[in-house]
């Protein structure tokens, strides 16, 4: 039985927020950090409250880096019980993740590679005006907590059209999310069976059996999750220019965009709509995921083998999939670039969190293999066309009869501007952390 009253709401369900602010914090002294935490715990939403009348227009989630746990006073023995990859942090794992070149941590912004990055406070708000009120309130609160400072912050807000969730390239987003066993949510057709809670929350049975090897003490790890944070800049001007170069008319350009993603921008999957877009299909959750690859499109004539969604969720063309699923959260930042407008040089993109119970088995596998392994599906020289580390030397193969189309030297449409690993504790764990004394 999932403890909905102890698990932070963040990975269970989304509050009805159209805006958010991420504040990256440092604790100059443990007492200040614990004071801040003590005062904010009551604002942290639980999974239980998300469906109740307690729902407020304001909502907070808090998570900590490994050095943040140390800065709060967690004992060395306890710190050592956390997994190696979390202890190292995302920047140190860049080679494993394949985030090299322009995506290298040397270029990241916001102080995210600093050992002084200790925590993140995610402030959700119903709209931008409410977010501003939250920001001011948190600023006032921080001023009362000695030694707690904001290293950097990022404002997020939904972009038009507001009738569906879109990212800056115009693709419909949030179409495929795993369903957690025990939440009572029924998976949509094609989404696969519910996944054991232990794949996302520590202390529960996972797809392999009972929980084992959890960080200690149990009160700290139980109901917690790991988060991989990614700030991914989207080069909308370069993306649109690429479509213009590779498609002679609007229809061809839309098809190229669909081939890169594996779905039309409406969300309609190419496997079910290989020739023409079908916006009604894309908007229908009962149909938009109801497909597979091994039998329906084994050679990628509809959805290329290297398309983004085929890499990030190979469905029935990979094994052990129930142990690779992750929960994605986050949203868009930066202003939308209206269609037809030239690139304005302003940063815009997606700031996302990947939630899981094992960073190395779930998130790092996805980055290392699905996103950045050039030989994934024996493609030889390709990476994820949207999300992979591109430097102009990789290709994109689009299977086609009678002759396939190969795009050489794919443009980088995205750049990783920052990332970090966090631990998202349960409410009891937050109270435990708030009452620590130095050295545990």
């Amino acid at each position: 039985m999932l403890e909905f009253d102890d698990i932070q709401h963040f990975l269970i369900a989304r509050p009805p927020a159209l805006a958010a602010r991420y504040e990256f914090l440092t604790f100059r002294q443990p007492v200040g950090g614990r004071t801040w935490l003590t005062g904010i715990i009551d604002k942290v939403g639980t999974a239980k409250a998300i469906g109740s009348s307690e729902l407020d227009s304001r909502w907070v989630a808090v998570a900590f880096t490994w050095s943040g746990l140390r800065a709060l006073g967690v004992a060395e023995a306890s710190l050592a019980s956390f997994p190696e990859e979390f202890r190292q942090g995302m920047a140190a794992r860049a080679e494993v993740l394949g985030t090299t070149g322009a995506n290298d941590p040397d270029h990241w912004v916001g102080g995210l590679t600093s050992p002084h990055l200790h925590a993140i406070a995610i402030l959700f708000a119903r709209d931008v005006a409410e977010r501003e009120r939250c920001r001011q309130e948190h600023e006032r609160y921080l001023s009362q907590c000695e030694g707690v400072e904001v290293l950097s912050a990022l404002d997020l807000e939904a972009i038009p059209p507001f009738d569906s969730v879109r990212e800056h390239f115009g693709y419909r987003d949030r179409l495929s999310q795993p369903v957690i066993d025990g939440t009572g949510v029924k998976p949509t057709p094609g989404s696969g069976p519910p996944i054991k809670a232990g794949e996302f929350f520590l202390g529960y049975p996972d797809e392999d059996g009972p929980p084992a090897g959890m960080p200690q003490p149990e009160i700290l790890s139980h109901n917690g999750s790991y988060l991989a944070y990614l700030r991914l800049e989207e080069h909308v001007g370069a993306f649109r220019e690429f479509l213009r170069q590779h498609g002679e008319n609007r229809e061809e350009q839309e098809l190229i965009a669909a081939k890169l993603m594996g779905r039309w921008r409406s969300g309609a999957p190419l496997v079910l709509a290989p020739e023409n877009d079908d916006p009604h299909l894309g908007a229908d959750p009962q149909r938009a995921n109801d497909f597979s690859y091994a039998n329906m499109d084994p050679h990628g004539y509809a959805c290329p083998l290297g398309a983004h969604i085929r890499r990030m969720n190979p469905r029935d063309t990979a094994v052990n999939m129930q142990r690779r699923k992750m929960i994605r959260r986050g949203g868009t930042y930066g202003p939308a670039l209206p269609e037809g407008e030239p690139e304005d040089g302003r940063e815009r993109g997606i700031a996302a969190f990947i939630g899981c119970a094992s960073l190395v088995r779930q998130f790092e596998f996805a980055m290392n293999v699905w996103a950045n392994d050039p030989n994934f599906h024996e493609l030889g020289n390709e990476r994820d066309p949207i999300f992979g580390t591109q430097d102009g030397t990789f290709d994109m193969t689009i299977p086609k009869r009678p002759v396939r189309r190969k795009i050489k030297g794919l443009t980088a449409f995205t750049t990783l501007r920052g990332g970090a690993y966090f631990f998202l504790p349960g409410i009891r764990a937050l109270r435990y952390l708030a009452t620590l004394t130095n050295g545990g």
Binding site: E85, R93, E95, V96, D208, G209, P210, A212, G213, V319, N320, R323, V360, R361, E364, F365, N368, V369, D373, N375, E378, G380, N381
Partner: protein, 203 residues
């Protein structure tokens, strides 16, 4: 009757074709490998990545057999044979070319060698491989080996450590048709079979 061997220089040479960055299957390649097992340290999820060689990826895991367990290991050879007969794709996730299981004793007790040649970097798919080992019962071979973690059912990291610690890197690997994957070979044979069938129909 022995087949007549043509002098190699007289053999028709296939065109030089490179199907990926490193791959020219027409030229045999030998590769000497440093003691560490890799040329440059490239960090994988669980440790250094071992390079793809002309003989593709692979490993040679060598471990001492626990006293009195030889027959249990030998018996498992038959079980794998039956499993593959029953479901030819049971080992497909490993992307194997070949498996060689060897028992030997050169004076320091009985040792088991599990040598696999495959097409994927083992580090990338370690969890999938371990899951398959559990599903097919290959782990029942490993429990007969010294050093195999007692808590292997719940401690993936310990299992991974066992493989990495008992891996003996090659110092030479050779490929007559270097870097070619099993899938590519199967595709070529399928194409050849299709052509043969077509030509037969045209007789």
């Amino acid at each position: 009757m022995a087949t007549q061997v043509m002098p190699k220089r007289d053999l028709p040479q296939p065109p030089t074709v490179a199907s990926s960055r490193e791959n020219d299957w027409t030229k045999p390649v030998a590769m000497a490998i440093p003691k560490e097992g890799y040329f440059e340290l490239e960090q994988g999820r669980y440790g250094p990545i071992f390079p793809k060689t002309p003989a593709c990826y692979g490993f040679s895991v060598v471990a001492k057999v626990k006293a009195g367990r030889e027959q249990a290991i030998r018996d498992y050879g038959t079980k794998i044979e039956e499993a593959v007969k029953g479901n030819p794709s049971v080992l497909a996730p490993l992307k194997l070319h070949y498996l060689r299981w060897v028992l030997f004793d050169v004076g320091s007790g009985l040792h088991f060698m599990y040598q696999g040649i495959f097409d994927t970097d083992f580090d990338k798919y370690l969890e999938d491989a371990v899951a398959l080992f559990v599903k097919t019962g290959i782990t029942t071979v490993f429990v007969n080996l010294e050093g195999w973690p007692e808590d292997w059912k719940t401690n993936l990291q310990a299992v991974i450590n066992f493989f990495r610690e008992h891996q003996c890197s090659s110092f030479l690997e050779y490929g007559e048709y270097p870097y070619v994957s099993a899938d590519e070979i199967k595709k070529a044979l399928k194409l050849k079979a299709s052509f043969s069938g077509m030509l037969d129909l045209m007789q």
